[in-house]
């Protein structure tokens, strides 16, 4: 049996493939519906939807600079989306990516500070050290939430919200008081040129951090569906009781999900600092980082917590972010409008899921009625 043959064969008989194709189709329809409703809102608000959308997509997908800028916006939210998705697969509602991303950015900034004293780090070695520091700090923050959950039963929503604020003010303090750049105190010490993530296309914003994000996404997919640890993680998420029965320790899965998610968010933060022109630093008030963690949740939702589905989802969110600048500049539509359109699309994307639930409920109910009728008949006969 040849490989191509078996792939075709799989497509035909594997219901998971049907499911995936179906879901993708639904997402496209939801997208169209969302954009239509968004258009109505724009129109009612006195803007020209055609013009707005033209600039939105023209400048985000249809020219090289726009496309690279879309991908660079997609990079951090793909990673923070993975944080949420891995958690969700383990039965968690981990909204700590925001804080873990700050910590990742702090890791890269620490590298920049170290490089001031150790010139050797102004090199690809420094890149590696910065990424490792970012991943470690992101994972470290996540580990606190994991341990609170496993040993003290603290719900992760509560702990991650609080840790997000702790990380925010910690990084805020360090940026403004300790690690600021004497030449421009509104940013932290920038990463030296030799340690920066290389740009994939000169003159654009797209750096190698995009490749890191894609690599991590593929790795996550492989881990969840092709490795025993991922199998155990998903089993724990779907049924902790059954996991225990199968000799799996659900707490280990929770730990793994948090730490892996922390690494993803940490890499996202480090990648922003080490790979994103022009600053290569944390800016005052963390303004170049804020909300990248929360946007990841959106990406995970659109991508149905599936790593591969999240790649197009992240590019879509990236395009909205990248295009909104042109939409504002050329069509005069305020940035907030983009957020509204984004919201409408996300709600539209949730509709198929709700329809499936209703369908399932009605099917179930019909089945029960039929069985009940049979039982009643049998009892009258007997």
């Amino acid at each position: 049996m040849t490989a191509g043959n078996s792939l075709l064969e799989r497509l035909r008989r594997d219901p998971r493939m049907h499911e995936a194709v179906l879901r993708f189709g639904e997402s496209i329809i939801a997208l169209v519906i969302g954009l239509t409703i968004g258009a109505v809102i724009l129109w009612v608000s006195g803007y020209s939807p055609g013009e707005a959308y033209y600039y939105l997509f023209q400048s985000s997908l249809l020219d090289t600079y726009g496309l690279t800028s879309t991908l660079s916006f997609a990079t951090p939210v793909l990673l923070t989306g993975l944080t949420f998705a891995i958690g969700a697969r383990a039965g968690l509602f981990n909204i700590g990516a925001e804080g873990q991303l700050y910590m990742g950015a702090l890791g890269a900034t620490l590298l920049a500070w170290l490089a001031m004293h150790v010139p050797l780090l102004d090199s690809p070695l420094g890149t590696l050290v910065g990424l490792l520091l970012g991943a470690a700090l992101g994972a470290g923050l996540a580990l606190i939430a994991a341990m609170l959950r496993v040993y003290r039963g603290v719900h992760e929503v509560v702990s991650t919200i609080m840790l997000n604020w702790i990380a925010y003010w910690l990084v805020y303090y360090l940026q403004s008081q300790k690690l600021y750049w004497p030449k421009d105190p509104t940013k932290s010490i920038p990463v030296p040129p030799g340690a920066r993530l290389p740009l994939l296309l000169p003159g654009t914003e797209l750096s190698a951090s995009f490749l890191i994000a894609i690599g991590f996404t593929v790795f996550t997919y492989y881990l969840l569906w092709h490795m025993v640890h991922g199998y155990e993680l998903r089993a724990s998420g779907l049924s902790p009781r059954a996991a225990r029965y199968a000799g799996i320790d659900p707490n280990r899965s929770i730990m793994l999900a948090f730490v892996l998610g922390g690494v993803a968010a940490g890499l996202a933060g480090a990648g922003e600092v080490m790979g994103r022109p022009p600053h290569y630093a944390i800016t005052s008030g963390l303004s170049n980082l804020v909300n990248m963690g929360f946007d990841g949740i959106t990406v995970a939702l659109i991508g149905a917590n599936h790593p591969l589905g999240m790649i197009p989802a992240a590019i879509f969110i990236g395009a909205l972010n990248a295009g909104s600048r042109a939409m504002q500049a050329f069509a005069g539509v305020p940035l907030e409008m983009v957020r509204i359109v984004e919201g409408v699309i996300i709600i539209a994307l949730a509709v198929p899921g709700i329809l499936h639930m209703i369908e399932e409920y009605l099917r179930r109910k019909r089945e029960l009625r039929e069985i009940a009728a049979k039982e009643a008949e049998a009892s009258q006969a007997g």
Partner: protein
């Protein structure tokens, strides 16, 4: 029929009640029941017979899938338990529903409009005096004993002037004195013309307190008789019943060496009280050891302790001669233990995973399903394995990659059983293996267990279905309150006698 006082109209009639839970479990298969004013009705049956479900429907906690209720001759439909309560039907559950940090008084009046609260305290005190159900009204409920909490709940119902009071296994956690107080109160309420439904599986109580007894089995009413005509033997026989299933052919046992030895085992329940209180036994290769008993007498805790899911507090478990006390399930499976758990939907299988994924659950770290030491799964091997199971056990599934929630209960159980057998185990622990299955699937599972025994596997069967234990076992133990009250052979005991042991009436 056995209407107690002819000429009186029933206060409540239930007609053709069928209840099927959303997961497909058939709880009630067409039940008719009348409740008369001023009577104590005993609702008797084994676990899973449908007693509680029937009464939850009457009290508005559940909606029937079909059938209807007549209240004083008029058809009613409950949209909530509160509505049923307003119409005079109240239920006290086995697990009480009080606000722990409120006082007894606050709990009793909770939810009533203020216009009904004038003189409430005096009226409650009067109620307590009349019924003998005394509670300290100003004490916080969580500081009260279980018996007192139960009284609060009953007073709550009486204060709302219920005509029909349903008590679900009310004596389970009571001391003998508290039980006596409760029974006295029931007698007084009866004199006031109230109807009391007393749900129980305890023969002694049903004979002591009720006027009329309705026996249920497997979702049906199988008998109804006035107390005067009832005796423990008759009731035990009705409760346990005889199934119309075919007998499973069983050649004589050829017991081999000891596979499992349990010595003076003590295990706690979730709530911290003792579930298993000093149990010892042995199982040999090639025999089925059956544990009968009403559920909740420690069987579940015993099974979990043996299969590594619950901590052993005292005592030892030896499996294949090795001390495995408090060893985890993964190691036990590797040594050759298999476990068909009581609840296949939430424990034995993962409903949202597909057939292939479920076919390796618990075996997923076995070498044959791994490609290397890094933990890459060999899905090709897993698919092959699932295919074999589907073929060998005739599992009807929409596809290897459909979630198992789309399989029928019988096919789920076949998949589970097949997977466990594929471990080629020395011991199979099967808890309630035929619960909720249809006749064909039940027979299939039973034959399978006997076949395993014939091939020299040891089988530990735990079932509250007495008939099943009698048919399949080579040796039988009856568990009551955490202990074995008797260990015997099926040919040396009658089902009736087993029923009496299970009800705690006969001591060995």
């Amino acid at each position: 029929m056995a209407a107690p006082e002819t000429g009186r109209e029933p206060v409540v009639s239930m007609r053709d009640i069928v209840k099927i839970y959303p997961d497909g479990t058939v709880a009630l298969r067409g039940v008719n029941l009348d409740i008369y004013p001023g009577e104590v009705l005993g609702l008797l049956g084994e676990n899973g017979a449908g007693k509680t479900t029937l009464m939850k429907i009457l009290a508005g906690f559940l909606k029937p899938t079909s059938g209807y209720i007549l209240l004083r001759g008029r058809r009613v439909v409950w949209h909530s338990a509160a509505e049923a309560l307003r119409h005079g039907i109240g239920m006290v559950h086995q697990h009480l529903s009080l606000v722990p940090v409120f006082t007894a008084y606050e709990n009793i009046i909770l939810g009533l409009p203020s216009r009904m609260l004038a003189g409430a305290r005096q009226r409650i005190e009067k109620l307590m005096e009349e019924t003998g159900l005394e509670v300290p009204l100003d004490e916080v409920v969580e500081l009260l004993s279980f018996g007192e909490q139960q009284r609060v709940e009953i007073l709550r119902m009486l204060f709302r002037n219920v005509d029909v009071l349903i008590l679900d296994e009310p004596t389970t956690n009571l001391t003998p004195n508290e039980t006596e107080t409760l029974f006295n109160a029931i007698r007084k309420l009866k004199q006031q013309g109230k109807s009391i439904v007393f749900i129980t599986h305890k023969l002694r109580e049903v004979l002591e307190i009720t006027d009329r007894i309705v026996v249920m089995r497997r979702g049906r009413v199988v008998g109804e008789l006035p107390r005067a005509m009832a005796d423990p033997r008759l009731l035990a026989r009705m409760m346990v019943g005889r199934e119309v299933l075919m007998r499973v052919e069983k050649p004589p046992a050829k017991p081999g060496e000891v596979v499992l030895r349990v010595e003076n085992l003590w295990v706690k329940r979730d709530i911290g009280t003792w579930g298993v209180r000093g149990v010892s036994f042995e199982i040999r290769a090639g025999e089925i050891f059956g544990i009968a008993g009403v559920e909740g007498n420690g069987q579940a805790e015993l099974v979990e302790a043996i299969t590594g899911l619950r901590r052993v507090e005292r005592g030892k478990i030896y499996f294949l001669g090795r001390d495995v006390t408090n060893l985890g399930p993964a190691e036990l499976y590797r040594m050759g233990m298999a476990h068909v758990p009581e609840d296949r939907r939430s424990t034995g299988l993962i409903m949202d995973m597909n057939v292939v994924e479920n076919s390796i659950l618990g075996l997923h770290r076995w070498e044959r399903f791994l490609r290397n030491k890094w933990g890459m799964l060999n899905w090709a091997a897993a698919e092959e394995h699932a295919k074999e199971l589907v073929k060998k056990y005739e599992i009807a599934a929409p596809g290897l990659y459909s979630p198992v929630k789309y399989l029928s209960g019988g096919n789920q159980q076949k998949l589970l059983l097949g997977r466990e057998i594929s471990k080629n185990p020395k011991l199979i622990v099967a808890a309630q293996p035929t619960r909720g299955l249809d006749v064909a699937a039940t027979e299939y599972v039973r034959r399978m267990l006997v076949a395993l025994r014939n091939q020299g596997h040891a089988v530990l069967l735990v079932s509250s279905d007495t008939d099943e234990v009698m048919q399949l076992s080579d040796r039988i133990a009856v568990m009551y309150r955490g202990r074995f009250v008797v260990v015997t052979r099926p040919e040396e005991v009658t089902e009736e006698k087993l029923g009496l042991y299970m009800g705690g009436i006969e001591q060995a």
